[in-house]
Every structure is written in structure tokens, then in C-alpha cells.
């Protein structure tokens, strides 16, 4: 069914904790017709992306995608009265009361949740009960006057409220000790207990990829570059390194390209994993200066993943080792392999760190200081990718797409809308038509709580929301709607609900297939949606290119002034640092190319024609230099 799909596509999946159960259904339908070449996601979307990438890596695609299709059933399996999905969230020992209180609220509503809270933090409720009982009892049998009895009862109530609040506050404060999350999701404490999410995911990735018993699946392997045996020759090592550098530069040449987003909280920015190598260097674009403490990460990752991290930790240069020593770093610290040799499960876990529920992943870096002062060793915390880009719809975008990049959005129902258990079409909104406005997020702001939620959402998601409504993007975003009690923090969703959401995803996948290459049950067909979308993209790209070149010409030809050297003069001195050209020939080439660009723009101006005028798809788009995240 999945062995030889006739077409290729890319896919991007949004974060949403348990909402991710919609994805197996969607990718299963798409996988029948398309082979996934580039796969990306954030948080729960990163989990789905990793599993899809593992399935594409498998030598037996049929079996692999059948395993993906079976995931909703597996996640809904009953384990001692709870779904497997809920058991995958294992809190740290010290956070158990807080976690059980949280789950109580999510599973049973406010009243039962409040009772669960009292059970989770029983100390003050019991004391308050004793105080109330004592007051009432002494009032009834020992003649205590009414005012004192009432005072005792009021104090019991106050003690209950203040005591539980204080215990919850202390429990929340303790989260700092467990890397700011209730669950690290790592191996069970003492090696005994249910498997948590990371261990389960690791096993799933290995089995879906057909690598059970082998070393952890890495990005390099997804790219098509296997690990070398321990006795590999220097030539083989060098050839592998060159291949990885080449694939870092040309992501389209990767056999399967998986990318996920994490958030570097310490530096306040998103980071894309894996970090590619620089084009003319074997240094990583980002994250090359990170270190890890094995004893810390052992609480996050299974032993064989830790063994891989230790084995693939880049060699510590002498200079770096000296600086670490000067910073007082423990000798056990190792360099973090943030590049292609990073296990997929590590990157996925770094993307999935929903704040407070899931602990941030701690790494380390050297912070250099001015003068002769020794560097400082500082923690770098990685949290959920969704904090900075929950829906990385910009992933894998190309000026002129050669294959569709499907994007699966998770959204809510509008006023008056509700899900139907039997009709998933009511819970899915098609991608926008090529010549139609995209579906925009609309938050109903009618209370202080919804106002603050909207504030948070706007700050968090504005980039993704603005990107997803642009022409070239909106036509490939399918919107899967989730109601209250569906997905998100509802860790305790039951089997039927998980299956219902998976069917919703399957419907969404089917709509994408239909729009881009005809109904799933028939043969692939040329569709207006896909080809008009490509044409719309062409119109946008040509208008942007013209505008971009025009602004280059204007900037280049603007004459210098007393404080500004003109571009022709500065470029002419391009053999001087910084960023000097490597040779006179390179400088001459730069000047020649620049002259050709300028001539091109002059020619267009002279002809009085433009591709940046009427009929360019709207909303407006712009080109600018942005970081590759």
C-alpha cells in the first residue's frame, strides 16, 4: 500500500502536545501517494515528523507506515485504567503531587480536580479538618462559646486555603530543581517503572526505521550517510565528513531531510536541529560551542542514546579544554554533537519541552569575558520549539516549489461550530484557494482571561500566523480543528477520542492529496490547485526578485558622503579585511556580477515594464535577510 508512492512531498506539522494524535492518520493517507522528502515540525509535530522520517528511512516502507497508522490504537491502549499516552508522562518523584493534581483538573473538571488537589497535598486539608472538628466538637460538648467556635471554623477554612496554596507554591518552586518541568520523560528512576515518552519514542523510532538493536537513528543516517565501523580508515572518515558538509549545504540532496525547532531560552531565540556544517568549514552553523554533562542528560535519555552521545561528542580541542578548566568545569563535560550525528530522539525531545509540564534540556557553554578574566561556564536551557515557532510553515520553502510542502495546522472551532463524531469534514478546513484569502486565527476576546491568552498567543505566534496567510503558503495549509477537551494538555484522552482525532487527521490528509494530485482512491492527476499555486508562487517570486534587485541597484549607486564610502569604492577595496575576497579573481567576479545585476535592472526600467505590478498575489510579501531558523 505504501511501498512505491508515485510522488514526492514535504510536510510540516504544528506543535500541540496531545493534539499530535491527529498526525498519524494524516500522514498515513498522504504516504500512500507521496514519499516524504523533507519533514519538519515543532514539539508534538516534531514527534510526528521524527516518526515519519524514521518510516521513510526504513528498508520496508510498507511495514513502517503500517506501524505509523497503528499509532493511535497503541496510544489509546488501556494500561491499568489509563491510556498509554497518559502513562508516557511520568512525573519526577518530587513532582508527583503537583502532577496528579494537574491531571485531576484536566481529566475530571474543576470540582473533582479541586478534590484531587486536596488529596495530592493532604497535609493542610487534614489539619484544617482536625481544627474544624475540634472547634465544632468543643462547641457541642465542652461549652465553647459560639464566637470562638466560628473563629475556629473560619481559621480552619483559612488554613485550608492558605496551606494548600503554600504547598502548591512550594511544589511549583521545586520545579526549578527538575529543570523547570514536572516530567523529564527520561528512564524510570532506579531503572524500574513505566517507560516514559522519550524511551517509548526511542523504541518507536528504532522499530519503525527497522533499526531495532542498532545504534540510535541519527540525522546523518536519514540523510543517507551511515556510521563508520570503528576500524574505518582516515580516508573513509574524511570522505564521510565531506559528504556531510555537502549535504549540510544542499538539503535537497538529503535522502530524508528532518528538521525540528527548539527554543534556546538562554539566548532567547529559536534553533533549528540538526545544525548543519558551514559550507567551507567543518564547523557547525549553530550550537558548535555547546557542552553536555552526561550525568545530567542520563535523566533525560535512555542508556544507548547516552552511549551514542558520548561516542560522537566532537573531540575537545586543547584550547577549549584549557578554557573549560579555567572556568572550573567538571572534567566529565563533553562537547554536544548538535550536527548530523545527533540522535533524532534527542533533537525531538529538545523540541518537545512544553513549559512546566516537560523539563527543559540543560546544556552548557563557555561565556567569554573581557580582559584576562577566565571564561564562565553557564547553563543553556532548551525548551519547547513552540515558544518561538510552533508552526514552522516557512520550513522547506522554495521560490519555485517542485513538490508541495503540506502544512498541518491545529486550530480551534469558531463560534457555533462543534465537532462531529461521525463527520470529520466538519472539523477540518481546506487550505485556502489559490486566489482566496487564507484562514486567519480569530480569537474571541470577551473576558480578561481570553484577553491575556490572546496577548500570549499573538506574541508567540505572530510570525507563523503572518507567514501562513501569504500566497504560496496558505494554499498548502490544512486546518484541523480541535474542541475543548481534545488534544492540547488533555493527557488523559481515551481510546475513542484518540481514534476520532486520528480520523480527523486522515480526512485532512485526504483533502491535501485530493487538492494537490486528485482523489486518493484514483490515479494521480494534474490539479488546478497545485499548478495554480505554483504559478502564484512564480508571480510572487518574480515580483520580489525585481524589487530586490531594484533596491540593490539603488543602494549600490547611491554616492558616498563624508561618512560613507560608496559601494563601488568599498567593493573595489574588497581584498582588505573584514570579509575580504579570497583572491583578485573572486573580487573581479563580484564586480562583474554586480554590474550585470545593475544592467538588468536598468534594462527593465528602460523598457518601462514590471513584474511587480498588477495581479501580484496579495497580501504583500517581502524579501529580507533572515536567520535560517
Amino acid at each position: 500500500m505504501y511501498a512505491s508512492p508515485p510522488l514526492e512531498c514535504d510536510i510540516v506539522m504544528k506543535g500541540g502536545i496531545t493534539s499530535g494524535v491527529v498526525y498519524p492518520g494524516a500522514v498515513e493517507v498522504i504516504a500512500r501517494r507521496y514519499r516524504f522528502r523533507s519533514i519538519g515540525g515543532t514539539s508534538a509535530g516534531a514527534i510526528a515528523a521524527a516518526i515519519v522520517a524514521a518510516a521513510e528511512h526504513s528498508p520496508d516502507r510498507d511495514t513502517a507506515f503500517a506501524a505509523v497508522a497503528a499509532l493511535p490504537d497503541e496510544l489509546g491502549e488501556d494500561r491499568d485504567g489509563r491510556s498509554l499516552m497518559l502513562t508516557l508522562f511520568q512525573p519526577e518523584q518530587v513532582n508527583r503531587p503537583l502532577f496528579s493534581a494537574l491531571v485531576g483538573f484536566m481529566e475530571k473538571g474543576k470540582l473533582s480536580g479541586a478534590l484531587g488537589l486536596l488529596r495530592a497535598f493532604p497535609r493542610f486539608p487534614l489539619l484544617a479538618l482536625a481544627l474544624a472538628g475540634l472547634s465544632a466538637g468543643l462547641g457541642a460538648v465542652a461549652g465553647a462559646r459560639g464566637a470562638v467556635v466560628v473563629l475556629g471554623l473560619a481559621a480552619a477554612l483559612a488554613l485550608l486555603a492558605a496551606g494548600v496554596a503554600a504547598d502548591v507554591f512550594r511544589a511549583v518552586k521545586r520545579l526549578a530543581r527538575t529543570d523547570f518541568g514536572l516530567c523529564r520523560l527520561g528512564p524510570p528512576h532506579g531503572g524500574e517503572g513505566p517507560t516514559a515518552l522519550t524511551g517509548w519514542l526511542h523504541g518507536k523510532l528504532q522499530s519503525v526505521a527497522g533499526r531495532e538493536g542498532s545504534s540510535p537513528l541519527t540525522f546523518a543516517q536519514l540523510w543517507g550517510v551511515e556510521e563508520l565501523p570503528p576500524d574505518a580508515s582516515e580516508d573513509e572518515v574524511e570522505a564521510r565528513r565531506k559528504r556531510l558538509v555537502a549535504l549540510s549545504v544542499d538539503s535537497r540532496a538529503r535522502a530524508t531531510d528532518l528538521q525540528v525547532v527548539t527554543t534556546d531560552l538562554t539566548h532567547g531565540r529559536p534553533m533549528r536541529l540538526p545544525s548543519p556544517f558551514q559550507a567551507h568549514d567543518d564547523r557547525l552553523e549553530d550550537g558548535g560551542g555547546l557542552f553536555f554533562e552526561p550525568a545530567e542528560l542520563e535523566r533525560f535519555f535512555p542508556p544507548d542514546v547516552m552511549a551514542h552521545l558520548r561516542r560522537h561528542a566532537p573531540a575537545m580541542e586543547r584550547d577549549t579544554a584549557e578554557k573549560l578548566e579555567a572556568a572550573g568545569a567538571p572534567e566529565t563535560l563533553l562537547r554536544f554533537p548538535a550536527g548530523p550525528d545527533l540522535p533524532v530522539v534527542v533533537a525531538t525531545r529538545m523540541s518537545l519541552s512544553f513549559p512546566v509540564l516537560i523539563a527543559a534540556v540543560p546544556l552548557w557553554e563557555l561565556r567569554f569575558r573581557s580582559g584576562d578574566r577566565p571564561p564562565l561556564l553557564r547553563r543553556v536551557l532548551f525548551s519547547d520549539g513552540g515558544i518561538t515557532s510552533n508552526f514552522p510553515v516557512h520550513f522547506f520553502d522554495a521560490p519555485l516549489p517542485t513538490r508541495p510542502t503540506f502544512a498541518l495546522d491545529l486550530t480551534g472551532f469558531g463560534p457555533g461550530e462543534r465537532p462531529s463524531r461521525t463527520d470529520p469534514s466538519r472539523s477540518v478546513a481546506d487550505p485556502a484557494g489559490v486566489n482566496a484569502p487564507g484562514q486567519e486565527q480569530r480569537t474571541e476576546i470577551d473576558s480578561l482571561a481570553s484577553f491575556f491568552t490572546a496577548l500570549k498567543d499573538a506574541g508567540q505566534n505572530w510570525r507563523d500566523n503572518a507567514q501562513a496567510r501569504l500566497p504560496g503558503f496558505r494554499e498548502r495549509v490544512v486546518h484541523i480543528k480541535l474542541a475543548k477537551g481534545e488534544g492540547g494538555l488533555n493527557l488523559g484522552m481515551r481510546d475513542e477520542k484518540i481514534k476520532e482525532l486520528s480520523e480527523r487527521g486522515a480526512y485532512a490528509g485526504g483533502r491535501l492529496v485530493t487538492l494537490f494530485s486528485g482523489p486518493p482512491e484514483g490515479a494521480p492527476a494534474n490539479t488546478a490547485h497545485w499548478n495554480d499555486s505554483r504559478f502564484a508562487r512564480y508571480r510572487v517570486t518574480m515580483s520580489l526578485t525585481e524589487r530586490w534587485l531594484g533596491t540593490i541597484r539603488r543602494g549600490y549607486l547611491t554616492p558616498g558622503d563624508p561618512v560613507t564610502t560608496s559601494y563601488p569604492d568599498r567593493v573595489g577595496a574588497g581584498l582588505e579585511a573584514p570579509y575580504k575576497f579570497p583572491s583578485s579573481a573572486a573580487l573581479a567576479f563580484a564586480e562583474e556580477v554586480t554590474a550585470k545585476y545593475l544592467a538588468l535592472v536598468e534594462e527593465w526600467d528602460g523598457a518601462g515594464q514590471t513584474l511587480d505590478g498588477e495581479g501580484v498575489p496579495r497580501p504583500a510579501t517581502t524579501l529580507r535577510a533572515v536567520p535560517p531558523v
Binding site: L138, L151, G152, A155, L159
Partner: protein, 173 residues
């Protein structure tokens, strides 16, 4: 010496004792700790006696950024003082009434007044601690503060001991 809480019935003393004790229990864990990272807890500061010692402790706390934490401890002590002193006074009263004799009543009154005295000494000590944290480290502030603290700690130790003795006495009949 007569029972200063004679206007309260014994059952009411018990209820008030439970209120005060649970209140003190609620507040106690909120006190932050200074050691570690400091080598000195707040008790060492209370009983520093000498200006040099006070300055040494303050310098360490400043270096470790703990001065704010020390102030927080004193801020929390204000509501804690009436709670723990009431607990001691009410427990003493209850124990004295359990003895049931004139001597018991006198002992209960002594314990209650002792608890009130501990509270007053604690207030004086806090004023002294705040003054030292504010930079007034010259004598007689450290000596007066430590005297108040010593008096308080003696009473805080003696009053519960007295309660236990009274309860033992009452049990023996």
C-alpha cells in the same frame, strides 16, 4: 498569681491554641534559609555580640547576595511572633489548668507571661537586626540585639519545657 486568660473557658483555650499552632506551622516553612550558601544562619547573626562579627557576617551575605533574604526572614517574623507566643501562652494555660491546683494556676500564669516576654524580646531583637542590616553595626546595637535574642531563646526553650513539666505533673495527679 492568677490565670491571665481566666476569662476564656478551657475548651476555648484549646480551640485558640489549635488556631495559633496551625498558623505558626503554616508560616514556619516560608522562612528562607541562609545556610547554605552562607556559613552563618540568621541565629548566628542574632547572637553575633561583637561589631567585628556582625560586619563579617554582613560582608559574606553581601558577597553571596543574601541580604534581601535576611530581610525577608525578619519581615516574616512579624506575623510569626504573635502566632508562636500565643501558642506557648495558650499551651501553658491549658497545661496549668490540667494540673488544677493553685500552684498549677501560678505556673500557667508564669508560662503565659514568659511567652509574652519572649514575644517582646523578639520584637526588640528584630528592631536591632534591621538596624544592623541597615548599617548600624556599632555598639551597643549588636550587644543589645544579642541580649534580646538570648533572652528570647531562653524563654522559647523554657516555656515548652514548663508545659511538659505541668503535663507530667497533671498526669501524675
Amino acid at each position: 498569681m492568677s490565670d491571665p486568660l481566666g476569662w476564656l473557658r478551657t475548651s476555648e483555650v484549646a480551640i485558640l491554641l489549635a488556631i495559633a499552632a496551625t498558623g505558626a506551622y503554616l508560616l514556619w516553612p516560608l522562612f528562607p534559609r541562609l545556610k547554605p550558601p552562607s556559613s552563618t544562619e540568621i541565629f548566628g547573626f542574632q547572637l553575633a555580640w561583637r561589631t567585628a562579627r556582625v560586619r563579617e557576617i554582613l560582608a559574606e551575605w553581601q558577597r553571596l547576595g543574601l541580604l534581601g533574604r535576611a530581610r525577608t526572614m525578619i519581615d516574616l517574623d512579624w506575623p510569626f511572633i504573635p502566632l508562636y507566643s500565643s501558642t506557648l501562652a495558650l499551651a501553658g494555660t491549658l497545661a496549668g489548668r490540667a494540673v488544677g491546683t493553685g500552684d498549677g494556676e501560678t505556673a500557667a500564669a508564669l508560662l503565659a507571661y514568659g511567652a509574652v516576654a519572649a514575644a517582646l524580646l523578639d520584637v526588640s531583637e528584630n528592631v536591632g537586626l534591621l538596624a544592623m542590616l541597615g548599617g548600624r553595626t556599632g555598639q551597643p546595637v549588636p550587644a543589645l540585639t544579642s541580649t534580646a535574642a538570648l533572652g528570647k531563646w531562653v524563654l522559647v526553650f523554657l516555656v515548652p519545657l514548663g508545659v511538659l513539666v505541668l503535663l507530667f505533673w497533671a498526669a501524675l495527679g
